[in-house]
Homo-oligomer: 251 residues x 2
Amino acid sequence: MSSRVIFPRTDASVLADDGDTLSFCSTCAFSQACLSEGMDKAALMDLHVLVEHVGPLQAGEHVFREGDAFGAIAAVRAGTVKTYQIDRDGHEQVLGFHLPGEVIGLNAIHDERYPCNAVALDTVMLCRFSFPRIALLASRLPNLQQHLFRLMSRDIGVASLFARDNTADERMAAFLIGLSRRLAARGFSPRRFQLTMSRTDIANYLRQAPETVSRVLRRFESDGLVHIKQRDVEIIDLPRLEALALAVLRD
Amino acid sequence: MSSRVIFPRTDASVLADDGDTLSFCSTCAFSQACLSEGMDKAALMDLHVLVEHVGPLQAGEHVFREGDAFGAIAAVRAGTVKTYQIDRDGHEQVLGFHLPGEVIGLNAIHDERYPCNAVALDTVMLCRFSFPRIALLASRLPNLQQHLFRLMSRDIGVASLFARDNTADERMAAFLIGLSRRLAARGFSPRRFQLTMSRTDIANYLRQAPETVSRVLRRFESDGLVHIKQRDVEIIDLPRLEALALAVLRD
DNA sequence: CGGGAACTTGAAATACCTCAATGATAGTGG
DNA sequence: CCACTATCATTGAGGTATTTCAAGTTCCCG
C-alpha cells in the first residue's frame, strides 16, 4: 500500500482546462445539487472555478490522514473512500464508507485538522473544494450556504449502525440496505452491487468479529435473502432484508 | 410529565426588554463565542436581536418533538436536555445529553424537521435562534458563518460511546469523564457533580441494561474510583477513571 | 405512612467473541 | 504455466461478558 497522501497537493492544472472541468462537473454531485437548488449561471461558474478534480487514486492511496491540516472538503465522484482512525493500541477503527455523491472532510472544520484517515478502497475520483474559498462564496450565495448547512446537518447523529442493542443480523441487514439505497440514489442497481471493502472492514465498521460477518452472510445466503459470491452481492428477498434492517434504520 | 411542547411558541416578550436580554446574553455561550471571535459591536447587536430566551422549562417539558417543523436551534443556558427517539416498538433510544453551552437542533436543518425529541431533565433555560434569520445574518458576518460551520462540524461523527467493542466499564468511565470535562469547560466542578438523568437513561444511552449500569457503578465505588450517593457523583481517582475511558475516548 | 418508581442484587440464559485450523483467491516469480 | 505465498474468507468448538428474568430494597412524593 502506498503511503503517499494525495489530497494536500494543489493541482492547478485541472483548473486550466475549463471546458473539461465543466463537463466533468456535470457528473459532480456537489455542483449538481447546487444547480438544482436554483443557483444561477454566474454563481455556478464561481463554484466551478474553485473545484479541483483529483484522481484517479488507486486502492490504498490516502486522501488525507489524521492530523493533517484541514484545507478542503471533497465529494466522491467515483469509487469508495473508507474513513478510519487508529486506536492507541494500533487497532484500526472504521468510521464509514463513502460512495459517489457523498462528501468527506466536513468533520475537520472544527479544529482545522482532519480527525481521521481517508483511504481509497478502489479507483477513486474526487472533487476537491477549498474550504476557505467555498465558505467565502457561501456568504455571497445563500443557496450554497444552505446546501453546506444541510450537508453537515445530515451527518450529525447518523443512526449508529453499531449500537449494542441490535443483533448482528439486524446490523448486517441495515448495512446492506444502506448500501443498496445509497447506490440506488446515485443511479446504480439497488439489487446487485459489489462490496468494495473486505469482510474485515465490514466487521470493523459494524464492531463485530470478522467471523461473525462471515457467518451472518452465509446464513443470509442459506435463508434465501441474498446471493453472495466473493464480493458480489445480489439481494434476493429485499422485503425480508428490509424488515430485518428496520430494527436499526427505523423507516 | 407534561406533554406540552414549549419550543415552537414564539415569545416576543423576551425581546422587548432589551437591557435584560443583553445582560442574560453575556452568559449565553453562543453569543459569547461569537464575541470572542472578534465580532464587532454592531454585529453582536444584530445577533442579540434575534435571540429569544426560553424558559424556565420544568423537568419533563419538551423543547421539541420528532417530526416538528424545524424553525430554530437552541443553546442550553442551564439544566440538561435529553434527546431521544422512539423505536417502532415504542422503545426509547437516548441519543444524547446536552449541558449548558451546548447547542441542540442542528441535526434538523437537513430535512427541516426535528429528527428526534428533546426533553428537559431538570429546570432548563434556553437561547432560541431562528434558523432562517441566523443563516441570513451569517452571510453578512463571516465569523458567525464560520462559527456555525464549526459547531456543526464538531457534532459529526462523535466517537460512539456505545460501540460494541468497548466493555461496559470502559463506556461508563468514558461517560463520566465526558460529563466531567464538559462541565469543567463551563466552569463547574469536574470532580463533583449531579447526574441529572436516571440510571435507565444512562443505560439506554450506553446501550446496556440498567442492571449493568448499576453493577458497574457499584464496582467503581468499591474499587475506590468514584463515590456515588444516589445521583451525586464524586470522582475519587480521576487518573484511573481516565485510563479506563481512554479505550473509548482516544485522548 | 403508603404506594410507586427507581435502583440494587442474584442466578440462569445467550449472543457473540476468541482461538485455531482449514479452504479459497489472487498475485508473483521461477 | 504452475507452484508458492500471502491475504482473505470460512467453519467449528469453547469461553465470557452482558442480558434477561425475578426478587428485593431504597427513596421520594403525595
